[in-house]
């Protein structure tokens, strides 16, 4: 039976700096494997749609404009993504990866959460189509 068994811890800590991270002021390096914003490489993609099928959060839509000409647009809903990396492993062509530098994704409006990957013309074509539908 003892009293004050943690006094030694407390006194030792008195002379140490706080362990709290000063995050927004100091940005610490993140681990290499951190899973952040998805990246897509259109070159290798075959438009098979496996990534969209396996995504547990329905965060990926593969929009095929022209299968033969390999014109695909990928719509990525960042706000739905759970950053599980299943899509990265489902893709047989290795087109997807998760970046470890883009992870501060909070935003005050919904715009940045709706990301289109692909050729510029293709995206414009899709956007024109969807606005026509919406209105």
């Amino acid at each position: 039976m003892k009293f004050g068994t943690m006094i030694s811890d407390i006194t030792a800590s008195l002379f140490k700096r706080p362990v709290t991270e000063k995050y927004p002021l100091v940005r610490y390096p993140v681990p290499e494997r951190l899973r952040g914003h998805l990246r897509w490489d259109p070159e290798k993609c075959t438009g098979c749609g496996l990534c969209a099928m396996d995504c547990p959060a329905n965060a990926i839509e593969m929009i095929v404009i022209d299968k033969k000409a390999k014109r695909f647009v990928m719509r990525y809903h960042v706000d739905r993504c759970t950053f599980c990396a299943q899509c990265v492993f489902s893709c047989r062509q290795g087109c997807l990866e998760m970046s470890n530098d883009t992870w501060e994704l909070a935003a005050l409006n919904k715009e940045p959460f709706n990301v289109f990957f692909g050729e510029k013309d293709d995206i414009e074509c899709i956007l024109a189509g969807s606005t026509a539908q919406d209105t």
Binding site: D9, I10, C84, Q86
Partner: protein
């Protein structure tokens, strides 16, 4: 109103019996549940628990997802023991599909499971110390817990919900650099854990709150079907890692940790000693990591069949029953989590104790209400006769926010 009040007072005047309602917003545990304790003076004479506040419809929702998606859904049953849910599911589905998982993948799964056990037990140590009013221990054990969280983040990329499992294997490998930092972290944790063991077994004030409190005898534990560290603290030899080794435990056998007193102190001791066992297992796995692939090919459809898989989660035995009907979606996934077993024991143990001891007895089983409550919840009240569809619910939500913004 006044009438009812006086009635109450009369009733209380006669029997001196009070019902103390606690929750659903529980003052101590950060999870919703509702208890009703009948007290006579300070002594609890009856206890009642109402669950279901964190019920999210997971068992039903598995029927609408494919095998791959279900893995991530089940991983989210509980935020603390997430990996073990996913491991149980993957082992079961792999057994159903007849897929041989490479040995290295199994070893890595087991390693992550042991790291998870460390993080879960240290979290519990903090919470339970906090319930006992020992906040210094709470703060320091949680500071040290960051070490294992950092290891997990370095290994898998996430601090919680690691998503390390893939059907047919694991996602991430262990290289020398990571192995070194794990070993370094484990050395530090082992030293700290030794210190904590000394504290919980010698600190005079703390022992007054834990020694001889909430005693569950071996027979009681067997009859009430306690599982995990709660049962082992009462001397019941029940540890699935030992009884029915799964994943890589046949190659890296675990030793069972037992205590005999069955009080809250014994539960502290058992959990802390299990940490040493986890440290040992992690070192052993790292030293003898088998060389092989990480992933086996996995079919999209699984032949019809049923399987049962039992694993040892940090809180006790976790039971999965999985049925396939030959399609790409599971037909039925039944999950029996450890807390539901231990809960009935707590309700019985509470009787006869002082009300002030209840938080500690409750914390002693390491309850996890979100893993307790799975199943179905849908917005439905009797005055709203229609079920709400997903779309209606969404529209309601949008309308609600628009109205508030104006």
């Amino acid at each position: 109103m006044t009438n009812r009040k006086s009635e109450n007072m009369q009733a209380n005047g006669k029997s001196e019996r009070f019902i103390v309602p606690i929750g659903p917003q529980h003052p101590a545990l950060k999870e919703p549940e509702h208890f009703r304790f009948t007290v006579e003076g300070e002594i609890v004479t009856n206890a009642y628990v109402r669950l279901g506040y964190a019920h999210r419809g997971i068992e039903k929702a598995t029927e609408q997802r494919n095998w791959v998606q279900t893995n991530y859904l089940l991983e989210r049953i509980c935020g603390i023991c997430s990996h073990i849910h996913s491991t149980a599911y993957c082992l079961g589905v792999e057994k159903l599909a007849g897929v041989q998982v490479p040995p290295r993948a199994l070893a890595i799964r087991t390693l992550v499971a042991e790291l998870e056990r460390i993080h879960s037990h240290m979290l519990w140590l903090g919470v339970a110390a906090h319930e006992a009013g020992f906040d210094t221990l709470f703060m320091y054990s949680w500071r040290d817990r960051e070490t294992v969280m950092d290891i997990l983040e370095q290994l898998t990329g996430n601090r919680v919900n690691y998503s390390a499992n893939l059907l047919g294997g694991v996602k991430y490998d262990i290289d020398q650099e990571i192995a070194d930092s794990i070993l370094e972290g484990i050395d530090f944790l082992e030293e700290r854990t030794r210190h904590y063991l000394e504290i919980v077994t010698t600190d005079a004030l703390f022992l007054q709150r834990t020694r001889g409190v909430g005693v569950m005898t071996k027979t009681q534990a067997e009859v009430m079907r306690a599982v995990g560290p709660t049962a082992r603290a009462s001397g019941v030899t029940r540890d699935i890692r030992v009884e029915a080794p799964y994943a890589a435990y046949p190659q890296f056998p675990a030793r069972i940790t037992l205590a005999t007193n069955g009080d809250v102190e014994a539960r502290f001791v058992v959990r802390i000693e299990e940490l040493f066992e986890s440290h040992r297992l992690i070192r052993e796995i790292l030293a003898n990591l088998p060389e092989s692939d990480l992933r086996a090919r996995f079919p999209r459809r699984i032949k019809p069949g049923e399987t049962i898989i039992r694993v040892e989660a940090p809180r006790g035995e976790l039971f999965y029953f999985i049925k396939s009907n030959g399609s790409d979606k599971p037909e039925r996934v039944k999950v029996r989590t450890p807390t539901i077993c231990n809960m009935s024991s707590v309700v019985k143990l509470a009787v006869g104790h002082q009300l002030a001891d209840i938080p500690l007895i409750l914390a002693g089983i390491d309850p996890c209400f979100s893993c307790n409550d799975r199943g179905v919840i849908i917005t439905r009240r009797q005055n709203k006769p229609d079920l709400w569809t997903w779309e209606q619910l969404r529209q309601y939500g949008i309308g609600y926010y628009d109205g508030n913004n104006k």
